[in-house]
């Protein structure tokens, strides 16, 4: 087994099916299709596969799946992440490794002929939803693909008997991540060869922590995340909410900051609550801001030259915002990032290049859903939460000492270890 590097920081996980297959027996009456409850049951059995051998516990959020840690969707074709589906056959499904937002979510190709495990032969004509779901759940829990023959985390679909037993390679992997369940050897294994529900009653999941108290308007310089960062006119500008900081070319935080963005860039929208990304164009030095699904091109801080929508740049019309934008020092090209994807942007034609988006995996070690990224003194930095990752452009991976706390490095704050952000591998 191979651990991907991320794991959940809790043992009670919730899951829910947000988007069911378009063809279900409930509506079509076709015996080749599954009932809705059968689909839920296959997923429930998949959670039991991992829950029985580890300390993990799973609870279905049937009525509010969008609030679950692991949200399950059936999609077709391009569906907003870096892994478009390809119709029946070949790619079946994918999942995202543990994390916020899309982290932990599982996507299944709606075009596949999904069937209950007992009805499957695991060919492209009758694909076991249970086996595929259990495999994807392995990713959602932090396991990478394994090259051990017969393991569930093997990337290619293999046939398992109707009475499924989690192979030892996978058992060791999940137990190393989340510990061993005390009853591991005593419990019977879940059977998929019956149509009756075999759910074992589980204690209720630990309630979610109460929502954080509302933040004050002005961010705390030494304890905050950043919305966007860029070098503009040789100074570093760091944006958070309605405010920004400036760090001069010598690395000194300028006094009287954070200051309101609108006081400096008065032509940006008056009701501005934050900016998503910003970069200085290499070709003409103009500053490009991204706010929601719009972009704003400014000359200096007094003149607004252009306002447009993201879709006018060739980005998907459904894209609500981008996470980061920067000019990469390696090739001088502009890159845009959103969730699990990124685009290369052609400044000459003001349009994203062909063959994009691509998956964020290309930037090895950089997490999904970054907050911001920028180039400084020839080095690329990525930010998420209160941490930043220094990137090695030549080896295409984050540098060994990453991630590190942002505030001490960029804003001269005391370097106090933050217990909420332990160093990850």
């Amino acid at each position: 087994f191979v651990k991907q590097g991320k794991k959940w920081d809790k043992l009670n996980l919730t899951w829910g099916v947000r988007r069911y297959p378009t063809k279900m027996r409930d509506s079509t009456g076709d015996p080749e299709h599954m009932y809705r409850w059968e689909i839920q049951r296959e997923f429930r059995l998949a959670t039991e596969v991992w829950g029985r051998v580890s300390r993990l516990e799973f609870t279905e959020l049937e009525s509010k799946p969008e609030e679950a840690d692991i949200i399950i969707d059936f999609n077709t074709g391009y569906h907003g992440d870096g892994y478009p589906f390809d119709g029946q056959g070949r790619t079946l499904a994918h999942a995202f490794y543990p994390g916020h937002g899309i982290g932990g979510d599982m996507h299944f190709d709606d075009d596949e002929p999904w069937v209950q495990h007992q009805d499957s032969d695991n060919t492209w004509e009758r694909v076991s939803l249970f086996i595929t779901a259990a495999h994807e759940l392995g990713h959602a829990l932090g396991l990478y693909h394994s090259d051990v023959e017969g393991s569930l985390m093997s990337p290619y679909l293999i046939r398992f008997p109707s009475s499924f037993r989690l192979p030892q390679d996978d058992v060791r992997g999940i137990q190393e991540l989340y510990g061993v369940d005390e009853k591991y050897k005593e419990d019977p294994w879940p059977s998929t060869s019956t149509t009756t529900t075999t759910t074992t009653p589980r204690p209720a999941a630990t309630p979610r922590p109460p929502p954080r108290p509302p933040k004050s308007d002005k961010p705390d310089t030494c304890n905050t995340e950043y919305d966007a960062i860029s070098v503009i006119r040789r100074e570093i500008y760091i944006f958070k909410g309605k405010y920004f900081w400036r760090v001069d070319a010598q690395g000194n935080l300028l006094p009287n900051y954070p200051a309101k963005i609108n006081r400096f860039w008065s032509k940006l929208p008056k009701n501005l609550t934050h900016i998503d990304a910003v970069y200085e164009r290499m070709t003409d030095g103009k500053i490009v801001f991204f706010i929601g699904n719009k972009y704003y091109v400014c000359r200096g801080n007094q003149e607004l030259l252009k306002v447009g929508r993201l879709k006018n740049l060739g980005l998907p019309a459904t894209l609500k915002k981008i996470d980061a934008a920067f000019v990469w020092g390696y090739n001088g090209r502009t890159y845009l990032f959103a969730e699990t994807m990124y685009w290369r942007f052609d400044e000459a034609i003001q349009h994203v290049e062909l063959d994009y988006p691509r998956a964020m995996d290309m930037w090895r070690g950089v997490p999904y859903n970054i907050d911001s990224a920028f180039k400084h003194n020839g080095t690329t930095y990525f930010f998420q939460g209160k941490m930043f990752w220094e990137f090695d452009d030549f080896r295409m991976r984050v540098k060994p000492k990453s991630p590190a706390l942002s505030a001490p490095f960029w804003l001269g704050c005391p370097n106090i270890k933050n217990p909420y952000y332990p160093k990850t591998t």
């Binding site: 079946l92 499904a93 990337p155 679909l157 390696y330 295409m396």
Partner: protein, 91 residues
């Protein structure tokens, strides 16, 4: 058959498949490095290892079947690991 095998190896679709699942370093798509036939054969061998078929480095019948086998969308080799062909040796 040798000519056919070579043609298939440089076929964009095969290369795309190898990149898509992490057998060829995806970073090459950004940096534009060219690949050698040896690199492609090594990538095929890695794919064969994950598919549990003989590691011949050739696009043989078993490998062609593997290319059509249903699978997970996620890559098998972590980017930068396994087949890091970007390291060059200075003569």
């Amino acid at each position: 058959s040798g000519d056919r095998d070579k043609r298939d190896i440089i076929d964009d679709r095969v290369q795309w498949y190898l990149m898509q699942y992490g057998y060829l370093p995806a970073s090459d798509m950004e940096t534009g490095n060219l690949r050698t036939e040896r690199q492609l054969r090594e990538a095929i061998k890695t794919m064969q290892r994950f598919g549990h078929i003989p590691m011949t480095g050739e696009l043989d019948a078993a490998t062609r079947r593997l290319l059509r086998t249903p699978r997970c969308s996620l890559p098998d080799v972590m980017p930068g690991e396994g087949n890091d062909f970007r390291i060059r040796v200075r003569r």
